[in-house]
């Protein structure tokens, strides 16, 4: 592998990745390590917003895997990523879930309010991407502004919290990603949200501009779109 | 103090570090002075009577009240109604002299007079850390008397006082005893004082009355 700017025998690459990718990365990293045997790969997990903030403050990151375009745009505007390295490598879809004991299913979001559930958990639209998409979908159905919906909403700081609320029975329903479901058997899908109701959920990757190994980082980023990686992503519920 | 003659009966054993304290004593409506070398157990006796510490076995009785009896739960300090001037005064550091005295106050008139006689009137607003050693001692004396107790324990009550103040306090105590007629035990190192104050003198040595 061509690498001309560093003469140290082992190189370190730090990947900051959205928490929702943790399962996938556990399988991808060994693959990367096979391809780049003299490179140490470090993974830093967090919510996309936190990771973006860390990068803005100069945290030593080489690759950023975001769960949302917004944060990547933010970094690109500040020229903190190499624009030509930006690649979309995964996509996701939104589902409405209930606890595994739920006896009904819905065909359409319109029926949401007809269900006698007193609490609906949703990621905070201002900071949690899944919440933002859910809000878009509800707005498209003209449900968002309705008082009886608003009074039922509970906002969570991340998708995991939505899952906890639903699986513990404290919230009847919740909006999460499809990829979150394989982690939890105590919840089940009530409705798959029509993708036309919200902007596309696409995971972008990019090389951070302060990287000291831009070439390796770019190659690794590209590697994410390889069929090997795409198969793994499929397995975890990220459709490609 | 109803009816019969007030009496404090003390008869117990308590093992201390270097010897065992044996004491057998009955105090009527009199002042008993307790003398003995430093470390001979005087304070310990008073502590047991007041209920601050407890004997190993024996009996302590005040009038009809049993204060302590072997292997029974000792009567709580606050139910004994015994006035106690501690050797180190044990004033409340967070209260003024006035508040210290008022704490368990029962006999208003007496106290007003006492404050004058022992000469602590100008100190009423001071805190204990703002007054002299002898002043503390007098405050503690007045505080112990203010509760109008059924018996009185005084641990070297005049040791930090000058001749003149001492005599004034002694005389006042005698007068009060005259009026109250309660058992009083007074620890002192002054032979003269023991003679003057005590109807009886009890000499202690290594925990035994001799």
């Amino acid at each position: 592998n061509p690498d001309n700017e560093s003469d140290s025998p082992t190189k370190g690459v730090t990947i900051s990745a959205a928490t929702s990718l943790s399962g996938v990365l556990e399988e991808i990293i060994p693959l990367l390590e096979q391809v780049y045997p003299d490179t140490t790969i470090t993974v830093n997990l967090g919510s996309s917003g936190k990771l973006a903030q860390q990068i803005e403050q100069g945290a030593p990151t080489d690759i950023f895997l975001s769960a949302d375009q917004q944060y990547m745009d933010q970094l690109e505007n500040k020229q903190l990523i190499l624009p030509d390295s930006r690649t979309n490598f995964a996509s996701n879809s939104l589902v409405l879930i209930g606890s595994s004991e739920t006896s009904y299913a819905l065909d359409d979001l319109n029926y949401l309010l007809s269900i006698d559930e007193n609490q609906i958990a949703i990621g905070n639209p201002n900071s949690v991407p899944a919440g933002k998409y859910a809000k878009e979908a509800l707005e498209n159905k003209d449900l968002w502004r309705l008082d009886n919906l608003q009074s039922q909403l509970v906002f969570a700081k991340d998708v995991r919290q939505v899952l906890t609320y639903v699986s513990s029975g404290n919230a009847g329903l919740g909006f999460v990603y499809k990829s979150d479901l394989n982690r939890d058997e105590s919840v089940k899908t009530i409705l798959s949200i029509d993708e036309s109701l919200h902007s596309p959920i696409i995971y972008p990757a990019a090389v951070v501009s302060t990287t000291s190994h831009p070439d390796i980082a770019k190659e690794m980023t590209k590697f994410l779109t390889s069929s090997e990686v795409q198969q793994i992503l499929d397995k975890y519920g990220f459709e490609s | 103090m109803t009816g019969a003659c007030a009496v404090l009966k003390v008869s117990f054993e308590k093992s201390l570090k270097n010897y065992t304290l044996h004491i057998d004593l009955s105090v009527g409506e009199e002042i008993i002075t307790l003398v003995g070398p430093s470390g001979s157990g005087k304070t310990t006796i008073l502590n047991c009577i007041a209920g601050v510490s407890h004997p190993d076995e024996g009996i302590i009785q005040l009038n009809d009240k049993v204060l302590y009896e072997t292997s029974k739960k000792p009567l709580a300090i606050q139910k004994r109604n015994i006035g106690y001037l501690f050797q180190d005064y044990a004033l409340f550091p967070h209260m003024t002299v006035e508040k210290n005295i008022q704490y368990g106050l029962k006999d208003y008139k007496l106290v007003e007079k006492l404050i004058d006689i022992v000469g602590i009137k100008p100190l009423m607003d001071s805190y204990p850390h703002q007054i002299s050693g002898g002043e503390k001692q007098r405050v503690a004396l007045v505080r112990a008397l203010a509760t109008k107790p059924d018996a009185l324990l005084l641990d070297e009550p005049f040791s930090a006082l000058d001749e003149k103040t001492r005599v004034e306090c002694q005389d006042e105590l005698l007068r009060i005893h005259e009026e109250w007629k309660i058992p009083i035990i007074l620890v002192t190192h002054h032979m003269e004082e023991a003679k003057k104050m005590g109807n009886r003198k009890i000499q202690l040595n290594k925990g035994k009355i001799i």
């Binding site: 919510s47 917003g49 933010q74 609490q119 958990a121 905070n124 201002n126 900071s127 909403l153 509970v154 906002f155 969570a156 700081k157 919290q161 906890t164 609320y165 513990s168 029975g169 404290n170 | 007041a50 209920g51 601050v52 709580a76 300090i77 606050q78 139910k79 004994r80 109604n81 015994i82 006035g83 106690y84 501690f86 180190d88 044990a90 004033l91 409340f92 550091p93 967070h94 209260m95 704490y103 368990g104 805190y127 204990p128 850390h129 505080r143 112990a144 203010a146 509760t147």
Partner: protein, 225 residues
């Protein structure tokens, strides 16, 4: 600007502090006077909310007080009352996370003064209750005040566990820390700074007031200056 988080924070932190103060003093007083084998185990159990991430504490509380939880289901059955997603949940979270602060401070301060002064008070015929209020409490006060300050500050700043059990419901469970968190997360810097300044001022005011109030009412002895 919506000031609900301010009132909500004051209400929740205030109530939690009062409850923690009473329970902490009570428990510290009892445990500090008795030595028994399991004491250290109880004490380290009381310390637990401090060593666990607040979110995990919140997770535990959600489990206990949730609709199907052992306590939550009883509350629901008996009082038809749900703790989760209400400000009461926030109070519970604040109590649990700040309790160790009060307990440790109180236990230490009850061991730091001369017990003979209490005995003197008893010889004057005072009840346990009176002695506790008029002697023990004032003598232990410096440490208790420290515990009180820490408790209020911690209750005021509680975030992770609160978010878990009370949820983030604007105008109902949105305390200042939650407002700050979500303002920061959503890049709303001005609002975040507004609330950071707001919560700092509350902390500052509480500190000043507590010191002034305790100086006037409890701690007028200064044997140390």
């Amino acid at each position: 600007m919506n000031y609900t988080p301010l009132w909500l924070s004051l209400k929740i932190a205030g109530i939690a502090t009062i409850i923690v103060l009473i329970m902490g003093i009570f428990l510290a007083r009892i445990l500090s006077r008795n030595q028994f084998p399991g004491k250290r185990i109880i004490e380290s159990f009381l310390l637990l909310p401090l060593v666990l991430p607040p979110t995990v504490v919140g997770f535990g509380l959600l489990f206990l007080f949730g609709k199907n939880g052992p306590i939550g289901s009883l509350l629901l059955k008996w009082f038809d009352f749900q703790v989760v997603f209400t400000w009461v949940g926030a109070v519970i979270a604040a109590i649990v996370v700040s309790f160790p602060l009060m307990y440790q401070s109180a236990a230490a301060s009850f061991g730091q003064y001369d017990k003979n002064i209490e005995n003197a008070a008893y010889t004057m015929g005072s009840s346990k209750w009176k002695v506790f209020w008029t002697v023990s409490l004032p003598l232990a006060w410096p440490g208790l005040l420290a515990g009180l300050i820490l408790t209020f500050a911690r209750a005021l700043g509680e975030f992770g566990a609160t978010l878990m059990i009370a949820g983030y419901i604007p105008n109902q469970t949105e305390t200042i820390p939650l407002a700050i968190y979500f303002a920061v997360e959503s890049g709303n810097t001005n609002e975040a700074i507004f609330w950071v300044i707001g919560i700092s001022m509350i902390g500052f005011a509480a500190l000043i007031w507590l010191n002034w109030w305790s100086g006037r009412n409890i701690l007028r002895f200064t044997n140390n200056q």
